[in-house]
Amino acid sequence: MINIIELSKSFNRKPALSDVSLTIESGQIYGLLGPNGAGKTTLIRILNQILTADHGYIQVDGKLLNNNHWKDFGYLPEERGLYKSMCVFDMLLFLACLRGLTKNDARTSVNYWLDKFDISSWSKTKIESLSKGMAQKVQFIAAVVHQPTYLILDEPLSGFDPINVDLILNELKTMKSEGKTIILSTHNMKSVEEICDHVALLHKSKVIVEDKVLSLREMTAKGEFTVRFSGNMIALANALWTDFELMDTKEFGDNRFEIVVKQRGEKSFDDLANNLMGVLKLESIEKRLPTMQEVFLVRIAKEEVENEE
């Protein structure tokens, strides 16, 4: 478990992090979200001991974060960097040794990951000869080659094609199932929805909300439902009556529709189901949760308004 306690950091008197406190449970995939300049990278750099905090501290499994934790952390920075003149194998071997593996263990691990990602044929290729996507894969392996307990990823999916995005996401899920803790900062909200258990939203150096992904989506939900049915729209209008407001309609042909309705007052999912049942031939009723993109925008907008007030 990682406890971040009242962390503050400023550059040239401009705060990058203000009194940030977070708890990251072991075995979670934890998302750090926020607009550019919110302080995510600063927080990540402090977690990786690249920067030191002005105030506050970090505990890892109850112990103060120190140099002995280097071997337990893996890091994929946003701005990727490898030695261009080195070949893939030597580069990974060097980084694995820096993280505390013996040369033999490092060699075994590098071979394992190259095989796993099906890129063993690149091992003698110089980094400068790799395409951006290929270099990204190597950079990802560099972050995990020493089997870290905590993996910190800054924009891990940028630069990958959809196939490789899938590969990386699956790998992260596997690592999670192995009990590893993954902290990722991303602007890819779809992936946040897909893999993150918990997120913290940072804005202007502060944490404005921290919760489970589902809880956040539910909290931000506007009481909207998606209904699929067969029947006619007049019957629907009668059934909704004044309890629900029709927001959107899609027609699929053969009198099949998908509509979005919004509840009025205290009306619930059950009320909607009761109103529609027997009137229309229902295919599905689903509570509509906002996407993380919407959650993000709503929360930031709310914060801006509060700040102005």
């Binding site: 280097w70 960097g81 490898l82 060097f94 980084l95 820096l98």
Partner: protein, 443 residues
């Protein structure tokens, strides 16, 4: 520290695998050897054999020159007056390359003029001068003394005046030896300049390709900095070793097989005289001066002291200067941005040469004493002092100078580490003194 060694070995391998480094390993010493070869080969330019006409109107020489003349000089005698224009333009003198005018008062004024058509080589000049001197000497003995030639040569002693320092009566502090120290100092400065720029470029490159962020997540910034300095330092030292090895082998080959006559005058063609005569040649001729340099390099420098001192000062000076190059590389917004800060460092490197001259010509001056302790110039001054030969007070100065340099190296490495830590993740900015001061203050 383990990580510093990992980084150092990577840096070393990076240099080792680089084409330019590999080429410099071979080309560098070969260029120096080639330069030395041409210096030795063509340093003594000029005609190597002469047909000399001796115009001796008073027949002083009696148509004789020496019983054992040099093969490369052929003499003929002309017992009438001859002026140089007649010699130059007269068809019957065309076969001669030079003519020697023996004037009537030669035994008093001891002056001889030699007119040549094509400049003779130094070697031929020396032989010619020697043989004419011998002959004039014989004539003088005949005319003015009752002594035999051998007896005269026993008595005849040149008047040597030695200018000795009252504090150094054994004349250990010879200027010419100081030049060897200056040469060794220049080697240090050359390698510091060359590899200092490598440090700067390597740091700027790590910054610009962002690999530094990956590294700093695994090592402390000071370990990274030290690793880079040590790795590049080892590659510099390795290059120096290879250069020294190749140059020493080359010079030995020159000595043993190529320029045997230059290195050993006893092998000089035609000069098959008794040993004391050879010594006299060495003492009196220009050739001796020519050979003094070789004598100096091969025999008169105490390398058992010189080499360890060289190595200690090389290492300490490298770390001292590396701290500056590293600080500039880490704090500059871009490689070109750092150039403006390089100029003062190179000026300080050049100051070492001034300190060197000051030490050679005025070793007791205040400036020379100051430069011995000034960390930017201490290596140069120390090497000159060692090459000249240090006295007991000089040893104290040498040790203090070294300790002071070492202390400064540590201090500036510490300063550099602070700048490195604060500046290494910043790029794209314009480096100003204000930023440097800010980063120095920041913890």
């Amino acid at each position: 520290m383990k990580n510093s060694w990992l980084i150092a070995s990577r840096e070393f391998m990076d240099r080792w695998n680089s084409r330019s480094y590999q080429w410099m390993l071979i080309i560098g010493p070969l260029v120096i050897l080639l330069f030395t070869y041409f210096l030795l080969k063509f340093g003594d330019q000029g005609k190597r054999s002469l047909r000399v006409l001796i115009a001796d109107p008073t027949d002083l020489f009696d148509n004789k020159i020496t019983s054992n003349p040099t093969q490369s000089i052929k003499y003929a005698f002309y017992t009438s007056y001859l002026d140089f224009e007649e010699f130059r333009d007269g068809n019957r003198f065309k076969e001669f390359d030079a003519f020697v005018e023996i004037n009537e008062k030669i035994l008093n004024n001891k002056t001889v003029k030699l007119f040549y058509r094509e400049r003779p080589s130094m070697e031929v000049k020396i032989k010619l001068k020697f043989e004419l001197e011998r002959r004039v000497e014989e004539c003088m003995i005949e005319q003015f003394t009752n002594l035999g030639i051998d007896r005269y040569r026993q008595i005849k002693q040149p008047l040597n005046i030695d200018f000795l320092n009252v504090y150094d009566p054994k004349n250990q502090a010879e200027n010419e030896k100081g030049w060897v120290g200056l040469f060794f100092g220049a080697i240090i400065l050359f390698f510091i300049g060359l590899f200092g720029m490598t440090i700067l470029r390597s740091t700027s490159k790590d910054k610009s390709n962002r690999v530094v962020e990956v590294l700093l997540a695994s090592v402390r910034s000071t370990d990274l900095m030290l690793g880079k300095i040590i790795g590049i330092g080892i590659s510099a030292f390795f290059q120096l070793l290879i250069w020294s090895f190749v140059i020493i082998i080359g010079l030995l080959i020159f000595k043993e097989y190529v320029f045997t006559d230059i290195f050993d005058p006893s092998k000089y063609e035609g000069l098959q005289y008794a040993s004391e005569v050879k010594n006299e040649i060495l003492a009196n001729s220009n050739f001796a001066r020519y050979n003094t340099f070789i004598d100096l390099i091969y025999h008169r420098i105490n390398y058992t002291v010189m080499l360890p001192v060289f190595l200690f000062f090389f290492a300490a000076s490298y770390f001292f200067y590396a701290a500056f190059f590293m600080a500039i590389g880490a704090t500059a917004g871009s490689e070109s941005d750092g150039q403006q800060f390089i100029i003062p460092i190179f000026c300080l490197l050049l100051l070492s040469f001034y300190a060197g001259f000051q030490t050679i010509y005025s070793p007791d001056s205040f400036l020379a004493q100051f430069f011995a302790y000034f960390p930017f110039t201490a290596a140069m001054v120390a090497l000159i002092n060692v090459s000249i030969g240090v006295t007991s007070s000089g040893i104290v100065q040498l040790i203090l100078g070294f300790l002071f340099l070492l202390l400064n190296a540590f201090f500036f490495l510490w300063i550099s580490a602070r700048l490195f830590e604060n500046g290494i993740l910043n790029s794209g900015h314009r480096l100003t003194w204000k930023t440097v001061v800010q980063w120095l203050k920041k913890t």
